[in-house]
């Protein structure tokens, strides 16, 4: 395997691993909001105000 091959593999795999780790870190650190009961004003009636 050539030096260029090593560099391309490490950069490609490394950048994807960094991206996917960052994304899942952001997704999972946001607290899960449980469904709450909506009041009448919260319900989307699809009518213009």
């Amino acid at each position: 395997m050539t030096t260029a091959g090593w560099i391309l593999m490490i950069v490609s795999v490394g950048s994807i691993l960094t991206l996917v780790s960052y994304c899942f870190y952001r997704v999972l650190r946001i607290p899960v909001t449980k469904d709450h009961l909506h009041g009448p004003l919260d319900i989307d009636t699809h009518e213009e105000m």
Binding site: M1, T2, A4, L8, V20
Partner: protein
């Protein structure tokens, strides 16, 4: 009193991300990508690949997520309604029909490939794959085993006697429709929440096994794991050029853009429908990016390190170069031979085809949902009635695929015209709809609303100018390279003509259905709630 709509929605954020990622992750990640990369420049292929990811892959994903969530706010879940929210016109509805047609047709042949994976996984589990002790006979054994399994000898071969492929196909149909019947959260989301992690765990186990193979045959020291990685990742010259000459070859750029396009499932109409079930104030920018990143992880970090190195170690460079361009050749002829050399080979064979099967199910499931959503909202049909219609339609199409198996003619015709060409057409329409009709800046405001990350404003320029130009070039080059031969091939083959006629009839019926549904929505005043741009006040002088 206004009618309050009861709509399905995803139970969790991670659920929708895994469902969208599951839709994108398929056989292409583990078979098509490594083969294309190895053939078209090796590591150099990754440069146009990442540029395409940034310029068309991720932007079009965000477009589909945005159009889906926006239309979902007005009670629509299928593309004809979702597109009409942005642009109320017949053109919009026609492309909406295309977005229902594409996943349905792809399902017709994809479920057959899914059945191959299931059949092979079961064969490894039961030990019925036995090529014998002589490695010289592996290539012919696996080639003839595959041809016999799919009935490639003549049309209708699978119906001559008991066929394991048909049995596996029936199992796949039942599983897919059962999960769809259970609904969005209890069916699709629940399945993807365990299937995606299971798929990744299985792939990581296979990856660790491949990377620890070392030099299994001391008689052939050059066939080792490092050289296998080199076959995949070393930048390769094209023709007589230098190491990075692949970067100057337009074909390499086309292949890279095509791989990104097909891998992320953009232009399928699936993300649109999935995103329509996201709640109006929920994040889509981060979810879309995470789903794309998950797909890339499976493709680059798993597919890119497993398939080619494993095949290289046991088969060598020359035989591998012959099959690398064909996903079927790589996946069903070359890789099974690799497992014969491994200790516990049948276990790893079962694991490999099991993970491909899971990847295929999470994709095929997603292909059914857009049509189900259309039947439900277009004609107020219940889940059972929608499934019955879709079952008959997809059953008829799959019957064509499994009957015309000689040279896999029906599968190839559907895959080329619908699974490749029409995808680009639909994606081009979505880009124009978002970038020019809705307005790229306004569209990105909608994308960023409620999102956990902000999409940079440079993407407005990319969506408005770069994406359409990129897609037009891809479509033009694709048509120029392939259309004449493909049209000639259809004209000379009755099976291909029957397949095309079936698809034309199906699309005509869908167009008619969308027209009827659209009129119904107009009568019900479903679009009245869609905010209209306020007329600008004239400036008083």
């Amino acid at each position: 009193m206004p009618k309050v709509l009861q709509r399905e929605s995803w139970a969790t954020k991670i659920g929708v991300i895994l469902a969208v990622a599951g839709s994108a992750v398929g056989l292409g990640n583990f078979l098509r990508f490594p083969g294309r990369a190895a053939l078209y420049g090796g590591g150099a292929f990754m440069i146009p690949y990442f540029i395409s990811l940034l310029l068309i892959g991720i932007p079009i994903c965000w477009i589909e997520w945005t159009l889906g969530r926006q239309g979902g706010r007005y009670g629509f879940n299928s593309a004809p309604g979702l597109f009409s929210v942005v642009w109320r016109s017949g053109v919009s509805r026609a492309f909406g029909a295309l977005a229902v047609f594409i996943p349905v047709v792809i399902y017709m042949y994809y479920v057959f490939i899914e059945a191959w994976c299931l059949g092979y996984a079961i064969s490894y589990l039961t030990g019925s794959i036995a090529p014998g002790p002589d490695p010289a006979g592996y290539a012919s054994y696996f080639s003839s085993h595959f041809n016999e399994f799919i009935g490639a000898s003549e049309h209708g071969a699978l119906f001559r006697s008991f066929s394991p492929a048909l049995l596996a196909l029936a199992g796949c149909f039942v599983l897919n429709f059962f999960l769809i019947y259970r609904g969005l959260t209890r069916g699709i989301e629940a399945f993807c929440r365990w299937a995606m992690p299971a798929l990744v765990i299985a792939a990581v186990i296979v990856l660790v096994r491949v990377l620890t193979l070392g030099t299994p045959d001391p008689g052939r020291p050059e066939q080792n794991v490092i050289n296998g990685l080199g076959f995949m990742w070393n930048p390769k010259p094209v023709g007589d050029g230098g190491t990075f000459s692949a970067l100057w070859d337009p074909q390499v750029w086309l292949e890279a853009a095509g791989q990104i396009f097909f891998s992320l499932s953009v232009g399928f109409g699936i993300i649109l429908t999935y995103a329509s079930y996201v709640r109006p104030k929920d994040d889509i920018a981060l979810s879309g990016l995470t789903a794309s990143a998950t797909n890339e992880f499976c493709e680059v970090c798993l597919g890119g390190l497993i398939t080619i190195p494993a095949a290289f170690i046991f088969l060598g460079a020359a035989p591998l170069a012959e099959v690398a361009g064909s996903s079927i050749g790589l996946g069903f002829h070359a890789v099974p031979a690799v497992f014969e050399f491994l200790p516990l080979g049948h276990f790893f064979g079962f694991l490999w085809f099991g993970l491909l099967f899971l990847a295929a199910v999470t994709s095929s499931l997603s292909m059914l949902q857009p049509a189900i959503a259309f039947f439900e909202e277009g004609f107020s049909l219940g889940r059972r009635a929608s499934m019955a219609i879709l079952g008959i339609v997809t059953g008829a199409g799959t019957l064509l695929v499994v009957y015309f198996t000689q040279n896999t003619v029906a599968l190839d015709v559907m895959d080329f015209w619908v699974g490749s060409a029409l995808l680009i057409v639909l994606a081009l329409f979505e880009v124009v709809l978002f970038g020019w009709v809705l307005g790229a800046e306004k569209g990105l405001v909608e994308t960023n609303r409620g999102s956990d990350i902000q999409v940079p404003s440079i993407f407005a320029f990319i969506i408005r100018w770069v994406c359409p130009a990129y897609l037009i070039i891809i479509l033009g080059a694709f048509a120029y390279q392939n259309f004449p031969d493909k049209v000639r091939a259809i004209a000379g083959d009755p099976a291909a003509i029957v397949t095309v006629a079936f698809m034309a009839l199906l699309f005509s019926l869908l167009l008619l259905s969308v027209h009827i549904a659209g009129n119904r929505w107009e009568q019900e005043r479903r679009f009245d709630a869609v905010a209209k741009p306020r007329p600008r006040r004239k400036r008083s002088r």
